[in-house]
Every structure is written in structure tokens, then in C-alpha cells.
Amino acid sequence: MCALARAKRPLLDVREVVLVALLAAVGGVLSTYVGYIGNLINRLFGVPFGAGQLIAGLHILWPILARLLTAKFGSGTLTGVTKGVVEFLSGGTHGVVIVLISFVEGLLVDLGMGISRRSSLVLTMLTGAIASASNVFLFQAIYFAGVSPTFILVMAALSLVSGAFFGGYLGWDIRRFLIASRLVPQRATATPRASSLRGHILTLTVVLALLAGGIYYYTSVYDPFSAPDSARIEGALSSPYTFCYSDWEDKAVMVTAELLGSSTYVPPQDYTGIPLADLLERAQPKEGAQTVLVIAEDGYEVSFDLPAVLGDETVILSLDRGRLRLIATGYEGSYWVRRVRKIVVR
């Protein structure tokens, strides 16, 4: 009677709320068992960590099961994030980071399974693989920033395979078993609302593109706390460092330059700044480095030939209203980067 009084149909009905909570709780409790198996596998391979990725797929089994059993977008994310919180509050060995990792895994399960209105084994395995591999990249971003990309890719490959089998295949198999044993009604697994495959693919593409752009911007470009007159100098260098204009003021030179842009023209005038060549020489570019990228805080970047810049004392970093500005004497206007935040040698 009470349910009949509801005006708006919610995303998950009460039974599905219980199901999601239950799967998250099982996932949270069994994660300690998964960790134990992971340690056994590490010991088997004689490594301190890494080989445990062979069973990383078991962590995404729960969001996959929730998505398969409810057939509703959002159930994977809710299961993932709840499982993460349960694991965290149970004193799990990853700390609060596990909440973020489980959330991303659950979200990827929802996005992956949302591609098609009909679930299939292939799609489930593919989704499991991608969702599982995401943990490697997140851990890399948080704890393993300097570790070799080859090692990370090997870990990701292990996790990918594990996600396909222990997440996707096992999830599909368990769902079949649950339906056969009548623990889960067949109708619960059917998709309630049909929508076009093309629409899902388009949405997914846009979401992934926005997500990738956002992740790139916030991890590689955006830096709200750094001093406005500083820039990070990094890349193929022996001594990467953070350049701060005030530390280099005594090395400033004056150049006369004319800005010739496609829509802007500034007649020749004097600019004071530090030669880019001096900054790069202090960082000691490695042999084989060919280009230097100057990146602004909004992500805008221009590329210079490294040998040309090293031999040119007229390309300088000046201070313009408290912010770094590249005065690229002899280059067209688009090379005069404002609000420089990073200089990368490649």
C-alpha cells in the first residue's frame, strides 16, 4: 500500500537497494580474503607486490553482479563506492584510497555495461577487464608516479585479464547460476527501458572524452596553489626543478622585440626577463632531447626546437603583471605564451 503512494519512480526499488547493499557488504568482507589470496600469489611468484593483480578482477565482481542483477545504470557505481567505504571502515589495507578506486571501478562498470541495452558475456568480460585495469593507473597516479611504464603496463595487462575472467566471466556465470537456482528472478535481469545503441555509444564517447580531458587537465596542467611567478621545468633533464622568477632576477637581460600575431600587433619595445636558454642549461637536458614545450596554466602549449632555443638569448621569460610570460623574439605571436606554468623538454 505504501509503495503505491509513491509519485515518482526512483532509480532503484527497495529490493534493489537491499541487493546493492548486500553485494557491497559481501564484497567488503571478502576483500580481506582476496587480499590474502593476493599475498599468497605474490609469495608464489617471490615478489613483494604486483602479482596479486592476477585476482584484481575479484574486486569488480560485485559491481558487475549488481549491474547484471538490477540492469540499472548507477547500481554498479553505488555498489562500488559502498564496497569501498565498507572495506575502508573495516580497516582495509589500502586506506581511504580504496573508496576512490572502488568508485571509479563501479562507474566504469556502469558505463561499460550501458553501451548496449542487452547484456552479453563479451560485453561483461570487456567491461570487467577495463574496470579492473583502472585500479593500476589510479594506484600509479597516487603511489607509483616514477615507476617504469613497462612495469605499469604489465600490471595493467594482468589486471585486464583478471577483470575479464574473475570479474566478467565469473559474474556472468554466477548470474546464470542464481537464475537457475531461482534465487534471482529472470525478469529482474531484463533491461527495463530500451534506448538506442548509437545513443549509448555517443554518450559514452562524450563522457570518456570529457573525463580524459578533465583528468589530463587536473593532473598535468591545473595547479591552483603554486606561486604565480614560478614554473616547473621537467622532462628529459638531469636536474628538473621549479623555476621562481624572484630567485633569478639578477640574471635578467633586456631584449627589444616586436609581436606579430594574426590579429594582434605590438610595435617593437623593450622587455626584461631571464633567457630560456639559461633556465634549460641549469636543468641539463639529456642527450637526444629535441624539443621544448612551453605550457600555460590553461593547457595551451607551443613547441620549440631545443637546439635553436639553447643558442638564442632573446627568447626570455618575463614577468607580466606578476605572471610569467614568454617573449619569443623572432617567433610569431602565437608563440608568446602568457601565464607560463610548465616547461617540458622532450
Partner: protein, 257 residues
Amino acid sequence: MIPKVSYHAGTLGLHRATPVANLLLLSGFLIVVLAAPGILVKLGAFGLVMILTALSGEGVGTFLRNIRFVLLFAFVLFLAQALSVRDGTVLFSFGLPVTDQGLLAGAQMALRFLVILSSSLLFVLVTDPDRLAHAIVRLGIPYRYGFILVLALRFVPFFRREYRTVREAQHVRGVDASIRSLAGLRRAIRYTFLPVLVSGLTRVDSVAISMKGRCFGLYPKRTVTRKEHWHQMDWVTAALFVLLLGITVLARRYAWL
């Protein structure tokens, strides 16, 4: 296998703060270790975790014993970074060159790991999960979905018992718990996961009917019987959060070591 670190009631230090205040402090620690570049700042953050542990009536020695695996893994992380990063001046070499930048990166990552894990475990020690779940619901999340966490936490002791029962039943029946091959791994998973899952699923309908019977989900909003009020300790915790945030900003602006 069940971690030793779990919440227990107390009356000192962070035990007196509300879950939201503790969550705020935890996020402060996360911001400082993820956004501040210096080693000294991270060391300071770890020191602050230890001080708060002591002030909360948790023995620092016991706490350190509980996180000994964290300390060990932090050392492994240090080694992994120190041997992977090749930038900088080579200090010494034993097969692989070890550079000053590598040691610095290793120390950064090891300390980051240490602070994240130790502050997380301190949070777990001093925060009542049930109160936290209700606090999250009160923060504005639709109660239908916020209640998933409340419900999941209610299920946890039940599944722990079930899990223990399943493992004991396996031992009684002579099921080999060791994993020496992929087949062994598959068997271990099958014999552990399925019984626990099935035992839980048999209860879904009864719990759902019970909740429906109490008109769960009838109204878009839900009232609460227990309200959390901020006291002195909550403001102290919030001040610590602001302090950590300020240190992060200063550390980035002035490139503190």
C-alpha cells in the same frame, strides 16, 4: 585475516568529534600529502597523526604495531621509486644506479603512503561507522541511496560470521586452502564466494519486505531521531583542517622542501 584495526568507543581526543569533523580532518591529511611537494611537510603530517593518536587515547606503540605492514610496504615503495627514477646525480650504484632524485622521489612516495594509511586507520579507530553512515545521509544524499551504506554496514557482521562458517566447513571437509595452481585458485574462490553470496541472497526478499512494511521510500525526505551537534572538539578538528590546507598552499607557493 580480518584486520585488527576497527572502531572502538572512547572519550578522548578525536573520539569526541563528530564523524563529519573527523572526515574533514582526514580530507585535510589527504590534501596535504597529495598536493604539498615537500618531504618535511609530509613528515610533519605523519607526526601530527601520531600526536592525535596519542591524544585520542590510542597507544602509539600499539598503533605502530598495527601499521607495521604499512611501514614495510612504505619501505618497498621507497625502494621501487629509488631504483626506478634515473633523473638527477648518481650517488652510488649496485647494478642499478641510485640518484638523488630517485631517493627524493622514494621518500616522497613512501611518506605519502604512510600518511594516507595511518590517517585512514586513525579515522577508522575513532569514528563510529554507524554514526558516519547516518551523518552522510544527513549531508544531503537522498536517503534511499545513503541508506545503502547503513544497510551494508549492518550486513557486515553477518557476512563475517558466514564467511567464518564457510571456511570452517571447508576445513572440516578437508578442502585444501592452499593455492598452488590456477585450478586451486578457481576452486578456492568458488567454494568461498558462492556459499557466502547465496546465503546473503536468500535474505534479500525478507529484508526488502520488512523495509516496505515500514514504508521505507514512501516520502522523498526522512526525519532523523539522532542529531549531531558540533562541540569544542569539532571546531578544533576543523581548525586543524584549515591549518593543513594553509600549509599546503604555503608549501606549494614557496616550494618548501
